[in-house]
Subunit: 300 residues, 2 copies
């Protein structure tokens, strides 16, 4: 780990990663041992490693797998569900499973097609759906915290994209913790300071079986492009990615940005699902489902 000037053997690496994670959880006040954590599990290395680490650290962490119905010729969703379930069973942990097609009538690719969102890519619809389901399950089952496996590469890429167009409202919200708000559990990213390759190394060293393939729709995505650019910067200057992310958090904490009260969006509960929304009337998710249901009735 050039950015830390640190090299560890397998045995100590498997101790170091959970120790560091515990440090980040405390530093950013993510959650305590008394709170119930719902881990969003995709079957990939980050989320399964996160779950593994939280369980080892003695937290009350259950998993949530969302079946998106994405095949891509590699059985992407069924394979990632199988690996998630195997991990849960092997560690005697609870995995909640929500199948999007069963609950909302159609898998993600069809929802995306029917709603004409996202220029042929289902990523926008997928993100919207996952956020909605995670929030719903956390609320319905009474979890205090939602934890996702975003690593430093993910976070730096999002920050980079928002910075290139100076998206103020996103810059003010991005971080390791998004505090709870009425109707929404706190969201936390305990792995946000680990490089992607560090998480790969952890999953492999720990012997976690995870799905190697990226989502078939990820190819050519903006976030992958930004990750490549950041990798170039990292190669030229080891630590550049971490510096970019941490200095941002530090500058914000030190008051670089004007965090205006007025900027807080006016939220109200969606009349259908009761999740907070800034949209007039139904929230974006319920509006999408309504549109798909109507297109079905009209036989489109």
């Amino acid at each position: 780990m050039r950015q830390h000037k640190l090299a560890l053997c397998k045995e100590h690496y498997l101790v170091w990663v959970p120790e560091q994670t515990e440090r980040f959880i405390k530093k950013y006040d993510m959650f305590s041992h008394d709170e119930r954590v719902l881990v969003a599990v995709s079957g990939g290395k980050d989320s399964l490693s996160l779950w593994d680490i939280l369980v080892r650290l003695g937290y009350q962490a259950d998993g949530l797998y969302i079946g998106l119905g994405i095949d891509g010729g590699i059985g992407y969703s069924s394979e990632s569900q199988r690996l998630s379930q195997e991990f849960a069973d092997a560690h005697s942990q609870t995995l909640h499973v929500v199948d999007v097609e069963k609950e909302y009538g159609q898998p993600i690719p069809v929802l995306a097609e029917r709603t004409h969102r996202g220029f042929g890519k289902p990523c926008a619809v997928c993100g919207l759906t996952k956020r909605h389901v995670m929030n719903r399950i956390a609320r319905d089952l009474g979890y205090d915290v939602l934890a996702t496996g975003h690593n430093l590469d993910d976070e730096a890429a999002v920050l980079f994209g928002n910075t290139l167009v100076w998206e103020g409202s996103y810059l003010l919200r991005q971080g390791p913790v998004l505090p709870e708000s009425p109707g929404l559990a706190r969201k936390v990213k305990p792995l946000c300071r680990f490089y992607e390759r560090e998480m790969t190394a952890y999953a492999i060293a720990r012997g976690i079986e995870y799905i190697y393939e990226e989502c078939p729709f990820a190819e050519g995505s903006t976030s992958i492009y930004y990750k490549e650019i950041l990798n170039q910067l990292e190669t030229a200057r080891p630590g550049a990615k971490l510096t970019f992310y941490l200095r941002f958090l530090e500058a914000r904490r030190n008051g670089l940005f004007r965090e205006d009260e007025k900027a807080i969006r006016n939220l109200h509960p969606c009349p259908n699902c009761e999740q907070p929304t800034s949209a007039p009337g139904l929230c974006s998710f319920c509006r999408m489902i309504e549109k798909v249901d109507q297109s079905e009735i009209l036989g489109e």
Copy 2:
């Protein structure tokens, strides 16, 4: 010009560039026809084009050439001085010349070596010296405004570098205009919205003879590296560079940043040169010259 969805023939291009420059000068309130402008001229395409444009637009614009004493095996400084003087003569304009070696005892590379600043590169010393000389000449000769030829690529690269490490104080200051302060003329960058290639095209179409070579010390510099990264982003998304710079200015104007009164540095006049400085005692420039003079006395 893909970012504007505009293609022009040579004749109209030579009209369009000065028109746009005039628009930027007015938009950012840079200077009026009553004010005296000092153009920092390096002999390169940007600064000579800027001078050309300002003269054509009817502004009172004199040139300032600073002889840095950089040879690099190509007679860099002498050649750029010759081209600057030729331009001045051909257009019957006044060019002030300040020779660093004559005025301060040593050329830039020696000043840099003697002061051990900048890890073998004289760029930091060169920047410090140029700022000092420009400020001095503007004050001594009573110019209202100092204009430099920075183009969009220059500005975007500086912004990119400051953003990667979230340098708050620089982010709050960077822009097309740096207002005058006690003892310092206003500084403006009328070309800050033109791509580098647009300025090259202008200089060539106008038949301006400029020095093609980059400064021999520029090779491998961080700013060139950032320009390459931004060029990649621009290739993938035409207009990305302009968006990055303009959205930054817009976000700042709309109050994204907290521009704290306390953040304004406590400036006092340097006891030697009387230029404002935040350093205790002598300003950085006078301290550097003092150090070089002492090393001479000590026979180092």
